[in-house]
């Protein structure tokens, strides 16, 4: 038999970890560090959805608009993430192409879909596969920062390749969009309260 802290009327401080009893009135703060306390993250699902919608809205321009303008003595070109991947693939750097493809296209998409599935499952009160969903959440949280690879590359190139006359690299409109997608998915993952997955679990008889 197991019971949740919420069922017992206990609150855990997310900041300092102190356990405290919930007051009668709604709204509580940690008696030790004065951080705001709640049984579940307030508006967790709503926040998660808000960030996810924003991320989805920006995912499209991030992948269709050019992320980088390269202009040199010999002409200029614009590259989207996908054209960069294709270029790497065609020039034989398959490993690099695969890494960029995974980090820049697949992982953000997987994150968005995974979080959407988690949020939807909680909202609809799914009871099946709680363990898998918890693993999925842990995975999403851990791979979040990898996706910034592209932004690092673009930022480095923009800073380094500034030989005004000979060549210049400028970040395209997709770069901030892409950065925003990564940040928003991280925020969505952060705002999702994994404890919600387990709520409503009937104690095993």
């Amino acid at each position: 038999m197991n019971a949740t802290a919420a069922e017992l009327g206990l609150l855990a401080c997310g900041t300092c970890g102190l356990l405290s009893r919930a007051p009668a009135a709604p709204g509580a703060a940690c008696p030790r560090c004065h951080a705001r306390l709640a049984f579940r993250k307030p508006g967790s699902i709503g926040h998660c959805w808000a960030y996810l919608v924003a991320a989805m809205a920006l995912y499209v321009p991030a992948n269709t608009l050019p992320i980088m303008h390269t202009s040199s003595l010999f002409g200029s070109s614009e590259d989207t993430i996908l054209s960069g991947v294709l270029f790497l693939w065609e020039s034989g750097s398959w490993v690099l192409a695969l890494i960029v493809f995974l980090a820049s296209i697949v992982i953000p998409l997987v994150k968005i879909i995974a979080l959407a599935v988690l949020a939807a499952s909680v909202q609809l009160g799914w009871r099946a596969r709680r363990g898998e969903r918890a693993r999925l959440y842990r995975l999403v949280e851990s791979i979040g920062r990898w996706s910034m690879l592209d932004i690092f590359v673009v930022a480095l190139l923009v800073a380094l390749v500034q030989l005004t006359a000979l060549a210049a690299v400028r970040a395209g409109p997709a770069a901030p969009a892409f950065g925003a997608v990564v940040v928003l998915t991280m925020a969505a993952a952060q705002s999702f309260d994994p404890r919600l997955i387990w709520d409503g679990e009937r104690p095993a008889a």
Binding site: L37, G43, H47, A50, L52, V53, A57, P61, S83
Partner: protein, 538 residues
């Protein structure tokens, strides 16, 4: 039961009443994101210009998604995709042009691929060696919109907005011209060959040239064009001539033109005018001959050195040319003759007439006039133009002493009587002289032989006689010597003559002495000349 610490040991959380918020602020984030996404989408859609299709013969150097489209070196788009044409005769490049490029896409806009090109006269597109090829645009002047274009295989020699004038020339052959070959006016390059194509009937080549402003105003309807291709090496009746327009045209050919200055007012060029592209400047500058009469000349001499095209000359003025040289066998007389067909341009006799005479045309109404001239002695004659090259030309002149002949007007073309040429006369004379000389030599030979056989013995006898005569002479000389000796004897000191001579000499000496005495006295006493000898002196 719950295991763990009793609830009373767990501290009570502090009450922190929440300010009730009706609207969760977090939804601002997706709203902003959607707005940004929408704005990006709209702006990129707005940035998207028209998409056109361009047909090229080959996709050499073109790269889908990479190759840029440039107008005046400004990026106006790129090639998005390349695919084979449906009939496999070429490729179709889908060109994405930037926003606002709509006005570039008119009916006569031209696209071509800029690749490195090295031809005789021009080197272009070298920058594409490093940057890769690109597609260049020349915007037309039409207002008709178009979405499908045929790309040019060769870059156009001039762009639509280049000021100048395009002219159509018609030439027998292309010579050594190529696209980009220079066009010269007074040896100044003023344009270039833009295009050429064989005419529909295959009988001539149509050459399109472009003359740049401001030189295009020197082209009028009266302008003459000629090939300035390479070296104009002419070997004709006027000798060897080498002529070239410039070193560039030597290598790649060219076209030169000139406009006669005597045009009263420059006639404007009709839009569909086609100029004749002449083979040489000399031909271009000829007055166009509208009338031509053919005659046949029969020469009874060699026509070596006479070529079709050789001039027909009337007292130094070229009035026609040799059209053809035939041979003819007359089976009745069993004679071979060489009829030479000539073309005479009667206008050349008349065009320089002054006064009320017609500016051009025939001298007489019909051939009877020529027949009268023949009766007055008009004859054709072969003359040597150059002893060095042996080139012949036909001269027309009056030979009043020539045997009578007449022009048979029924014959077509009529036969103009000929007379033996001066050279032929000279030749005959020379041959005759050679024969005479030969005979003279033979006579001389015989003479020498006779001298040898008949005269030599006599000469030997004469020599003996002479030797005898010499001996006689020696004897005579001895006699003469003796005569001189006797003369010497008569002048010896003991001879009477010598004694008398001595006396005479002595007398002369004395006379001289007394004269000297007189002279001395007179010098001392000059008055003696007036007064006579003084007493003192006596």
């Amino acid at each position: 039961m719950v295991n763990g610490p009793p609830p009373e040991r767990i501290p009570e959380a502090l009450p922190a009443p929440k300010a009730g918020r009706s609207f969760p602020l977090v939804w601002v984030v997706p709203a902003v994101a959607l707005a940004i996404g929408a704005w990006l989408a709209v702006s990129s859609w707005l940035d998207h210009g028209p998409v056109v299709e361009i047909h090229f013969g080959t996709a050499e150097g073109l790269q889908a998604g990479k190759t840029r489209i440039k107008y005046k070196d400004v990026d106006v788009g790129h090639i998005g995709a390349i695919s084979l044409a449906a009939d496999l005769t070429g490729v179709v490049a889908t060109a994405h042009l930037s926003k606002g490029a709509d006005k570039l896409l008119v009916e006569d806009t031209r696209f071509w691929v800029v690749r490195p090109r090295i031809s005789g006269s021009t080197v272009s597109g070298l920058q594409t060696l490093l940057s890769g090829t690109y597609v260049a645009v020349d915007v037309g002047k039409s207002t008709q919109r178009r979405r499908l274009f045929i790309g040019l295989e060769q870059p156009p020699a001039f762009t639509t907005d280049a000021p100048g004038r395009q002219l159509a020339l018609r030439s027998e052959d292309i010579g050594s011209l190529d696209i980009g070959s220079p066009v010269y006016y007074r040896r100044l390059q003023v344009g270039q060959v833009a295009a050429y194509a064989l005419e529909g009937d295959g009988k001539a080549v149509k050459v399109t040239v472009f003359v740049n402003a401001p030189y295009d105003r020197f082209v009028t309807a009266a302008s003459r064009f000629w090939h300035a291709s390479g070296v104009d090496l002419a070997l004709d009746a006027e000798g060897v001539r080498v002529k070239t327009e410039s070193l560039v045209s030597l290598a790649v050919g060219g076209i030169a033109f000139d406009t006669p200055l005597d045009e009263a007012e420059p006639a404007s060029i009709p839009p569909d005018m086609v100029f004749e592209l002449h083979r040489s400047q000399a031909r271009a500058n000829k007055n166009p001959d509208r009338l031509a009469d053919s005659y046949v000349l029969v020469f009874n001499q060699s026509v070596r050195g006479l070529q079709p095209g050789a001039p027909v000359d009337f007292r130094g003025i070229v009035v026609g040319e040799v059209a053809a040289i035939h041979t003819q066998y007359d089976p009745q007389n069993e004679r071979i003759s060489i009829p030479v067909e000539i073309r005479v341009y009667p206008e050349r006799f008349t065009s320089r007439l002054r006064g009320g005479a017609p500016k051009a045309g025939r001298l007489g109404k019909d051939g009877k006039f020529v027949a009268r001239l023949v009766e007055r002695g008009l004859r054709a004659q072969l003359r040597t133009a150059s002893l060095l090259t042996g080139q012949l030309y036909v001269a027309l002149d009056f030979f009043p002493d020539a045997p009578r002949a007449s022009l048979d007007l029924a014959q077509s073309p009529p036969e103009l009587p000929t007379t033996a040429s001066a050279l032929e006369d000279l030749h005959t004379t020379l041959v005759g002289m050679a024969g005479n000389f030969n005979r003279t030599l033979q006579t001389l030979d015989a003479l020498v032989k006779r001298l040898d056989t008949e005269l030599a013995p006599e000469a030997r006898a004469t020599l003996a006689e002479m030797r005898k005569a010499l001996a006689e002479t020696t004897k005579t000389m001895g006699d003469a010597s003796r005569t001189f000796a006797s003369a010497e004897k008569s002048l010896a000191p003991d001879s009477a003559l010598f004694g008398e001579l001595q006396d005479a000499a002595r007398e002369f000496a004395r006379t001289a002495q007394s004269l000297r005495t007189l002279a001395d006295y007179l010098e001392r006493n000059p008055q003696a000349l007036l007064r006579g000898k003084s007493a003192d002196a006596q």
